[in-house]
């Protein structure tokens, strides 16, 4: 087997690995980005977070915390969806 031919065989595999690593990174980034969005929203509009000023608020106002919902979704995605998905992606790479 010539060196040129062998190099030609290896090149697509390296390219494919790089692309799949980018896919892993993208999947792992979705959760933290969502968490960051929720935190940023809480910082920009703290008055929407009723837990910061709970006195005199009804039960629904204490349950309805939209910024925390966004953070929870990000965490849920990171630890429930992304973890298994990355395992499957890495198995796919092998």
């Amino acid at each position: 087997m010539s060196a040129d031919y062998a190099h030609g065989l290896q090149a697509p595999r390296a390219e494919e690995t790089t692309r799949q690593t980018a896919r892993v990174r993208a999947v792992l980034a979705i959760g933290p980005l969502t968490v960051a969005a929720g935190i940023a929203w809480a910082v920009v509009q703290p008055w929407r977070l009723t837990l910061l000023h709970p006195h005199g608020q009804g039960v629904w106002w204490l349950i309805a915390e939209p910024q925390l919902y966004v953070v929870a979704v990000g965490l849920l995605f990171r630890f429930v969806v992304a973890r298994g998905l990355v395992e499957d992606l890495e198995r796919d790479e092998e």
């Binding site: 309805a64 919902y69 979704v73």
Partner: protein, 199 residues
């Protein structure tokens, strides 16, 4: 009316639906990134979108029952519940292997078209009446436009553009629903007939 004191405000319900849509949007984005084969490797992931679609259809029934301000609200929410359940059931059938034709995805397109129409029809006020009115109009047209994505997927199931557009639709819907308030101005506009903003 008896429940008026204990039932959650409409904005809270919108935020809960927004959370569901956000979960769906992120999952659909992830599916676009990894591809349908890797996504389908675990059964529960395959059932996530169809199951959530069906569940949201089921949850629209209590919305219809408890948030019926008028006949048009009841018809809009009821038809919305039916098409979401129908689309979810078709997608469940496809995932389970009971249904085979990709044209069953046309029901999802129909579900979105009916959902968008329901949003527009049951909003009786103009765009700048108050924030909820603006969001209903925006969401309505967004969802009607987004029906083109599953329509495209029915004919080109592996289209990245259609899958990405479909995922983006849910994330944008979540953002818009999170913006909802029962009574708040929109871009500085608030009709004098809307009432007093509460927050």
């Amino acid at each position: 009316m008896i429940l008026a004191g204990i039932e959650p405000r409409a904005e809270f319900v919108h935020w809960w639906f927004a959370t569901g849509f956000l979960v769906l949007g992120l999952a659909l984005y992830a599916e676009v990134v990894v591809g349908p084969e890797v996504w389908a490797r675990r059964p529960w992931r395959r059932y996530l979108w169809p199951g959530m679609c069906f569940l949201m259809g089921v949850l629209m029934w209590p919305v219809m029952a408890f948030y019926t301000n008028s006949m048009i609200h009841m018809v809009a929410h009821g038809s919305w519940a039916q098409v979401l359940m129908l689309a979810g059931a078709a997608e469940l059938g496809l995932v389970r292997g009971k249904l085979h034709s990709p044209y069953w995805r046309l029901l999802t397109a129909a579900g979105l078209a009916v959902s968008g129409t329901a949003l527009l029809v049951h909003e009786q006020n103009g765009w700048f009446f108050e924030r909820a009115a603006f969001l209903h109009h925006t969401l309505g047209w967004l969802v009607i436009g987004a029906a083109s994505f599953p329509l495209l997927q029915a004919f080109r199931p592996r289209s990245i553009v259609a899958a990405s557009g479909f995922a983006t639709t849910f994330v944008v819907m979540a953002v818009l629903l999170y913006c909802d308030r029962d009574l708040a101005p929109v871009f500085g506009h608030l009709s004098t007939f809307a009432g007093v903003p509460h927050r």
